[in-house]
């Protein structure tokens, strides 16, 4: 919540200019901003007018940015210079070793984040030039066939990947909508078990076989060769390498690419490497939705939300899925109030996406954070900011510091 009076002159085109308002917004939270240094630090002190006179439990908060996840974890778990570090996407073993030193406690919470593969439903062939990965390019030569997607999905060992990449901070999943419970489908859970032989049999039965003896299957004459891209990140590159190996075992050739996260997610319409442009066959990233209601999130996959040149490549239907029956369900959900019915609709939409195999979910990711052992009152949630109850945080009695 921000103050209307403070931002009255900052609307529309003037939004970029309101430095003072943007750097020190007046709200109702437990802390107020003392100093804001972009890319570096924000200093807060307790809000004297906070609604609860006994809170917050700290006089000041220093919020440091920059650096990598390992050094953030180190500053909490090893040097004790900081009390809380979030988004610790590092090797689970390293984090466990740090926690074992006793200075910190690692906490996780699950929301709706799912690490997933998107299978491009349009043709990303570079020879098509500017129209590739758009409606004009036409459908993808083989990824629009659910049989191919299903075989790719069956070849993946989600349990192993998740254990290796995220440890306690992840759980294997077969749904793009894994939570809240009401909306989570159980219809696709068979995917948790890797089934390489099943995948091979499936492709053989469908007549997608290696006809020219080069070890790669052909789909109506087109070899099953895919370009698989994601952002640069140690865990994602591990996922890529393992998936590449499994796919090669079922006769699918995979070329791996990784792109710097600031470019991949940067959304610059002039860059060919953004996840929205999707100039590849398959890409992997994590997405989630804020809040607990999936209506807006499930509406991501309606036909007219494809990223395309006319929308400056904005749009949430990244894999270019389109099914009129799905659009009808989206419309129905927007006029349905009954919670049970909404649950059914959301599950049905999830299953429709899953059975199209245009999305292959892999890992339900939790937030991983670490807090100093002397910090109490933390109740981490991935449904809101991790700092939602920072007013209630206190120092363990007897462990106060200066």
């Amino acid at each position: 919540m921000i103050q209307a009076a403070q931002f009255a002159d900052c609307l529309g085109a003037r939004a970029p200019e309101c430095t003072e308002a943007n750097f020190g917004p007046i709200g109702t939270g437990p802390f107020v901003v003392d100093e804001f240094r972009p890319n570096d630090v924000i200093e807060f002190s307790a809000n004297e007018n906070f609604r609860n006179p006994d809170q917050p439990g700290f006089a000041t908060v220093t919020f440091r940015g920059g650096g990598d996840a390992v050094s953030a974890a180190r500053s909490v778990c090893q040097t004790g210079e900081f009390d809380y570090a979030w988004n610790l996407q590092i090797d689970p073993q390293i984090l466990a070793d740090m926690e074992a030193e006793g200075l910190c406690t690692v906490v996780t919470a699950f929301g709706t984040s799912v690490e997933r593969l998107h299978l491009n439903q349009t043709n990303p062939d570079p020879e098509l030039g500017d129209i590739r990965s758009t409606a004009e390019a036409g459908p993808h030569p083989f990824l629009t066939d659910p049989i191919v997607g299903q075989a790719l999905s069956m070849a993946i060992d989600r349990v192993l990947l998740t254990e290796l990449g995220y440890g306690a901070g992840g759980a294997p999943t077969c749904n793009v909508l894994p939570a809240p419970e009401l909306y989570a489908s159980t219809a696709n859970d068979a995917c948790l078990e890797q089934d390489l032989e099943g995948a091979i049999a499936l492709l053989d039965e469908a007549g997608i076989v290696d006809s020219d003896g080069d070890g790669i299957r052909e789909y109506e004459g087109t070899p099953l060769s895919v370009v698989f891209q994601t952002s640069t990140n140690a865990v994602r590159q591990d996922y890529q390498a393992l998936i590449q190996d499994w796919w090669s075992q079922i006769g699918v050739d995979t070329e791996l690419r990784n792109i710097d996260a600031s470019v991949f997610f940067g959304g610059d319409p002039a860059s060919p490497d953004t996840f929205q442009k999707f100039y590849a066959d398959i890409e992997m990233y994590t997405n989630n939705f804020a809040g607990v209601d999936p209506q807006a999130y499930m509406a991501n996959w309606v036909c007219d939300d494809w990223p395309r040149p006319e929308t400056q490549w904005q749009g949430a239907n990244i894999q270019r899925f389109c099914d009129p029956a799905y659009d009808e369900l989206v419309a129905e959900m927007s006029t349905t109030a009954d919670l049970e019915e909404r649950g059914r609709l959301a599950r049905e939409m999830n299953d429709m996406l899953m059975q199209s195999y245009s999305i292959i979910p892999i890992t339900h990711r939790g937030g991983v954070s670490a807090h100093a052992a002397s910090l109490e009152g933390i109740s981490m949630s991935d449904w809101d900011s991790e700092l939602w109850n920072i007013a209630e945080w206190t120092r363990t009695p007897g462990m106060e510091r200066e």
């Binding site: 085109a13 970029p16 430095t19 890319n39 650096g67 210079e81 610059d268």
Partner: protein
């Protein structure tokens, strides 16, 4: 000498204007959209208004002139205002009574795409860190490197020379991200936090030095980055110093000086050192701008929010005005230190006086 300096300064003006044009154009030619990082919920017509207000729809030359006016006129005048006024600014960049407001408060300034705040405010925040940490470590590097180079050249192949060579090879060949992380592990992680030799692993940029204790704290948080950078700089400088000293020690004039009965101290420190300093001065002076930009790995490791770190963040965020401005500041540093190096030649060697 004075005429020479004046002539060089006058010549520097068109050079810098030309450089600024090239930098502006090169950075500008990279595809980037100032609204690309804004939330997706902003409607297209508001996006267009924002682009309009930042002037990115004008022709390139117009954009350059707009930027140059802000860079060369508005921003220096605002700095002048601040220098003349001892009080803090009021909201809306209005100066309090008794101060001379040269620039009207609503004059547009160079705005960073990333943070939506004036670029020069960001630079003013990060420059002190760079000067403190990188600057002092460079001075320490010189103070260690020059004597070390002299000694190891004078006592070539002695134990001291071998030790110095080993030291400089280590400093030169191990990258700073490795020495930095090692230093953190040794002095911040393995050392108990209450020991007097424990050192903080990250740099607190908001720390204010106002008494002895806070000065000690400042010193402690500077030690690790200074150690890492100082090692690298000292290693580099001592190698140049040694090589240059060795060249000069073989010269005839050294034999002459000794034949005249001069003491070793005078021969080495007055005759040889002075002549050997010319190439070293070039290296030191021309490396200063590189030090400002090149310390960014160390800045990243110790989270010193310096100017190199800001530049990297700006490049990653496609923050065109910030990249243009910082690059231009580096260009100014290169031109300035070139001039300083030339003047120092004249002082060291009377034959080079350029008059």
């Amino acid at each position: 000498m004075v005429t020479y300096i004046i002539r060089r300064l006058v010549l520097a003006v068109p050079a810098l204007i030309f450089i600024s044009f090239i930098i502006f154009m090169i950075v500008k030619l990279s595809p980037s959209d100032p609204t690309a990082n804004l939330p997706l919920t902003i409607p297209p017509e508001v996006r267009e208004q924002i682009r309009e207000s930042l002037g990115v729809n004008e022709p390139l030359v117009g954009q350059y002139l707009r930027w140059a006016r802000m860079m060369f006129i508005t921003e220096p005048l605002i700095m002048l205002e601040d220098a003349l006024c001892s009080q803090d600014r009021l909201p809306g960049r209005v100066l309090p009574d008794g101060c001379w407001q040269i620039v009207p408060p609503d004059t547009s300034r160079i705005i960073s795409y990333q943070t939506r705040s004036p670029v020069f405010d960001l630079i003013a925040v990060s420059l002190p860190q760079t000067l403190w940490v990188v600057g002092t470590s460079y001075i320490i590097g010189i103070l260690i490197g020059v004597p070390l180079g002299i000694i190891s050249a004078y006592k070539q192949y002695s134990v001291t020379d071998q030790a110095a060579t080993f030291f400089s090879m280590v400093g030169f060949s191990i990258p700073t991200f490795f020495t930095g992380t090692m230093a953190i592990i040794i002095f911040s992680v393995w050392t108990p936090t209450d020991a007097w030799w424990w050192l903080p692993s990250s740099y607190t940029t908001t720390h204010v030095v106002n008494d002895w204790d806070s000065f000690v704290f400042q010193l402690r948080q500077m030690i690790l980055p200074m150690m890492v950078l100082g090692l690298y700089n000292a290693a580099q400088i001592s190698r140049y110093m040694r090589a240059s000293m060795l060249d000069n020690l073989q010269q005839d004039y050294v034999r002459t000086a000794r034949a005249k009965g001069m003491g070793e101290r005078v021969v080495v420190l007055r005759h040889v050192l002075r002549n050997s300093l010319i190439p070293v001065v070039t290296v030191i002076a021309l490396n200063v701008p590189a030090v400002f930009g090149g310390a960014l790995i160390t800045e990243q490791v110790f989270r010193v929010n310096g100017i190199g770190y800001q530049l990297i963040q700006a490049i990653r965020g496609a923050d065109v005005p910030m990249v243009q401005t910082i690059s231009f500041i580096f260009a100014v540093l290169v031109v300035t230190f070139n001039l300083i190096a030339d003047v120092l030649y004249g002082i060291l060697d009377p034959r080079i006086r350029y008059d």
